[in-house]
């Protein structure tokens, strides 16, 4: 099992979610986060006072998938979250050791 973690532009969340549920995925966790990468921040101007805002709002999407689904999932996310401009985000994949469904006590892939 793998954890797919994607940082995307907030307005792309709906498209990404639609495409992922289209694949048959049954769950995901979404967090509003802030951060910066190569896009850096932006400047805001309040009555002449200019502020550089380093941390931009992003969405972090986390989902646990079976090993054979990983490729398909990251391709889908990339396609849906892509705008071509800087700041589209990143996808990280890590190994997951165990999963347990709290209600039933099931473990492993059937608990995903």
């Amino acid at each position: 099992m793998k954890k797919v973690e994607a940082i995307i532009k907030p307005f792309k969340l709906d498209e990404v979610k639609e495409s992922l549920t289209g694949l048959g995925l049954k769950g995901m966790t979404v967090t509003e986060v802030k951060g910066f990468g190569r896009q850096k921040g932006h400047t805001e101007l309040y009555r002449g006072a200019e502020y550089v805002v380093d941390f931009l709002p992003k969405i972090k999407l986390e989902l646990i998938v079976k090993d054979d689904e990983v490729k398909k999932v990251i391709e889908t996310i990339q396609k849906a979250a892509h705008t071509g401009s800087i700041g589209d985000g990143k996808i990280f994949v890590t190994q997951v050791e165990a999963v347990l469904r709290i209600r039933t006590g099931e473990t492993g892939e059937s608990a995903i």
């Binding site: 101007l45 309040y46 009555r47 002449g48 006072a49 502020y51 550089v52 805002v53």
Partner: protein, 481 residues
């Protein structure tokens, strides 16, 4: 049927109680008014002038006694509108502009000032400003609102209840020191704000309000024939915006900059609150400006119109300048422009016509825009929310423009005591008043600020300022979701 009977009863009450009150007051039983006198008294109500019985040597009583319902109703609404400007208008306007950790401190300061000034006003403030006394202060004849009842005080209005007039003027006394908060936000401790405002009311607000608006005030050109400076200030450009604006500049200089000013992110935490507050200020300003006619009459109607035009023109102009320079018309730009226009039209609104109001709006936006964008950067002071750039600049320039633009066509009252100067040298009188009030505000604020600084201290401790004033000073957090 019930409603009709009830309203007949109400009408009976309205008509009979005040009459009874007035008749007893006189002591001597005056003659019954003739039919002609009765009609003339009703006309006096409609035209907002005195009745026959209002003159000192009158031997006739009036059947139209007490306050006039229409004028009184408008003034009670206006008083509520002016309070609405502070609570919550100004509180939200300023609150939205500070950082999350300081939002409650601004609200607390506005609430604290509302309570404090009300107590001062009741005790001696109203009397020092609006009783007859001397050229600078009134005496203490209305202390603790003694004798301030529902009958009009004919020094100021023939038809508005004295207590309503007192409450209306109190709302001005509340918002004036509250405006200063904008300059010292995010770093002055609450106790210091309260101590400063208490002293400031006695040193600046009460004397200035008496000098400009008191019936025997030395600079009340409008109503005091014996005034030394023939100044006009319709709704408080001098009394409210100049005093608070110039004092704010001095106080923020003595207080010093916020920790991290110019280096750290100090962007407004909630522009939505700021816009909501601005809308309330704009709406409330109708009570402030049109209400300053002290009657529901043509002068009020004109002030209502000029206020609207100046505010809208200034708001739009500010945003247009932002668009021209930065390609981004901002919410804070629209809001700042509106407030600048309102502040600048305040001293003039009841004296000028509509085309002058449009010019005031344009000047307000352009001058305040450069005060906030350039002047502040050049001089390097930390006027956190631009009290100086908007209110001092607006009030001062507005008072000067009022001297140039005032026309008897908009307000026939200008022909009473100002016939010789209006349209001629009135602007010179305005300059004299501006110079005197500016000096008083600056000197008094410097003295009071130093006094507070060397006794209880002005600033919150460094740790408190870093953490934000809300939790350490007030024990609450603005947002806990």
């Amino acid at each position: 049927m019930m409603i009709r009977r009830f309203s007949c009863f109400l009408l009976f009450l309205c008509l009979s109680f005040p009459v009874a009150g007035r008749a007893q007051e006189g002591g001597v039983a005056n003659a019954e008014p003739s039919m002609e006198q009765r009609v003339s008294d009703l006309e006096a109500y409609i035209n907002n002038v005195g009745r026959g019985s209002d003159s000192a040597d009158s031997t006739v009583k009036s059947n139209v006694g007490g306050s006039g319902p229409g004028h009184n109703a408008w003034m009670m609404v206006s008083a509520a509108l002016v309070l609405f400007m502070t609570l919550p208008g100004l509180a939200l306007f300023y609150g939205g502009l500070v950082r999350t950790k300081n939002v409650l401190s601004v609200l607390a300061q506005c609430l604290g000032i509302a309570g404090l000034v009300t107590i001062l006003w009741w005790a001696v403030g109203y009397s020092l400003v609006f009783s007859r006394g001397g050229p600078v202060f009134g005496d203490l004849s209305f202390a603790f609102l003694k004798g301030v009842g529902s009958n009009p005080n004919t020094d100021y209005s023939y038809w508005v209840s004295h207590n309503v007039f007192s409450m209306y003027q109190m709302m001005f006394a509340i918002i004036t020191p509250a405006l200063i908060i904008g300059a010292i936000a995010e770093r002055m401790k609450f106790t210091a704000v309260i101590a400063f405002v208490t002293l400031w009311m006695f040193a600046v607000y009460f004397p200035v309000a008496h000098m400009i608006w008191g019936i025997d005030g030395i600079m009340n050109g409008m109503w005091n024939a014996a005034s030394r400076v023939k100044a006009i200030d319709f709704a408080g450009g001098i009394v409210v915006h100049m005093t608070s604006g110039w004092s704010a500049l001095i106080l923020c200089l003595i207080l010093g900059k916020r920790i991290g000013f110019g280096k750290e992110l100090m962007a407004p935490h909630n522009m939505v609150l700021c816009m909501v507050g601005t809308g309330m200020l704009w709406v409330g300003w109708y009570g402030f400006n049109a209400g300053s006619a002290l009657a529901s009459d043509g002068v009020a109607a004109n002030a209502f119109t000029t206020t609207t035009l100046a505010a809208a023109v200034a708001s739009f102009t500010w945003a247009v300048m932002e668009y021209a320079l930065k390609r981004k018309p901002s919410i804070l730009g629209f809001c700042s422009g509106a407030i600048a226009g309102l502040a600048m039209v305040t001293p003039a609104c009841g004296f000028i016509d509509t085309s002058s109001a449009v010019i005031v709006g344009l000047v307000a936006a352009i001058v305040s825009f450069f005060a906030c964008f350039k002047l502040k950067a050049w001089l390097g002071y930390d006027d956190a929310l631009d009290t100086f750039g908007v209110h001092a600049v607006g009030g001062t320039l507005g008072a000067f423009l009022a001297g140039i633009m005032a026309t008897p066509g908009a307000n026939a009252g200008l022909l009473a005591n100002l016939k010789d100067v209006v349209g001629k040298t009135l602007w010179l009188e305005q300059l004299k008043a501006i110079g005197l009030i500016m000096t008083l505000s600056i000197v008094a604020t410097a003295v009071i600020a130093c006094l507070v600084k060397f006794t209880i201290g002005l600033r919150a401790e460094t740790g408190v300022e870093r953490e934000g004033l809300d939790l350490p000073e007030h024990g609450e957090a603005g947002y806990t979701f």
